[in-house]
Symmetry: C2
């Protein structure tokens, strides 16, 4: 019997993950110690250690000093979503990308927006509405508020040919963001823009992007019925 030779920690991680998913090591089970795994995998103990640490960080293993390492009793599967610029997403589907700016104004936002962004309730922000198209059909409507206190360059930009979605990625630093996915009923204006009947279900992505404590931008993207966001386990 020839043992597998795993020569880097990612390969060890993949094999451990496979055993967890295949229930060769079921939830709650004690797994072999690092020295035994190093012999089995034909690699160094440090390599095994790095792989197990990464899996413990993702919540799949419980590591206890002296008590050894167990498969988590409540394993959480992780799915990764790629958040691309909409133009690249459309082009990645092999479709022709189109863009229409619908409106651009400096305006005092609704309280829900200034509240979420942490800006003064009477402070005007830059408000952009735009339509993204795929093969000439509406793909998503973008409703965005930009904090011009944080991104003053945006004041000089018309967003007539380049979407704020794409422009901000190039010009606005950020450190982190919150994303929420939900289902909403389309109002008359958005339904008209997306060219569907009102009171249809739309997929909504709400994103708030920050640079340190300051909110850079808040955007809602609405996708017409039929849109699916896909990933793998």
């Amino acid at each position: 019997m020839s043992a597998p030779r795993l020569n880097n920690w990612q390969a060890v991680q993949d094999e451990v993950l496979r055993r967890i998913h295949a229930r060769e090591w079921p939830p709650g089970a004690l797994i072999p110690n690092e020295a035994d795994l190093a012999v089995e995998f034909g690699c160094s103990r440090a390599t095994v250690n790095r792989a197990l640490r990464a899996l413990a960080d993702s919540g799949l293993l419980d590591r206890r000093r002296k008590a050894g390492t167990r498969v988590a009793a409540q394993p959480v599967a992780k799915a990764t979503l790629d958040i691309a610029v909409i133009r690249h997403e459309v082009e990645g589907r092999g479709q022709a990308y189109g863009y229409q700016r619908l409106s651009r104004a400096e305006a005092v936002p609704p309280a829900a927006v200034s509240g979420a962004m942490g800006t003064a309730s009477d402070r005007p922000l830059l408000h952009i509405r735009a339509l993204h198209l795929a093969d000439g059909r509406p793909y998503a409507v973008e409703d965005r508020w930009i904090n011009t206190g944080v991104v003053p360059l945006a004041r000089a930009e018309g967003f007539e040919t380049v979407s704020a979605n794409e422009w901000l990625l190039e010009h606005a630093p950020y450190t982190h963001g919150d994303i929420a996915f939900s289902a909403v009923m389309l109002g008359a204006e958005d339904a008209g823009t997306l060219d569907v009947a009102p009171a249809e279900a739309a997929f909504a992505i709400d994103r708030l992007t920050r640079d340190g404590p300051a909110a850079v931008t808040k955007v809602r993207l609405l996708f017409p019925p039929g849109y699916q966001l896909r990933t793998t386990l």
Copy 2:
């Protein structure tokens, strides 16, 4: 001026990621070579190499032999979703979990289900409908088909007290799965189960889980209006 001392590859990765997000190294820019970064970060060149390889694997850097390493021109942000058992998800929100099995039957599935699962169109599968509750209120309705050819143990299980969502995680091996998120209009039956008006927008999660080439189970989870799936960038 004292340079930061980064003593492991994850710390180097975090710092490089920070510079990319902060646009200190903008999209398309050539970054310093590994030797210079190793001096700057006070770590070994191997540590820098490991961090840059990981970032290249995630699509944030383009590494070219001789031409050096550039920030990707079309950076893709990654968001991670935790896919937990629904009971743990509800309990993690600090709410009391409840469960009701609505129906259990061996039945020939609709063609869309057998097609997606790759089972013969006349082959009966196990069909379970169930309601998950949070603090006594409907949280999600589960509509699931189980391939009893792959999971014969499920034939003996009533799913009256333990959900198939939870039972399968313990008993059915899997290797990978596809997940799709979308918005759908609630039909009369699901709306009644979720105790909301019909023709409301519901958040749908469709999941197909495989063990190698064989489909283990296909499930649709429908969440009532107001549900949000959240993550961070």
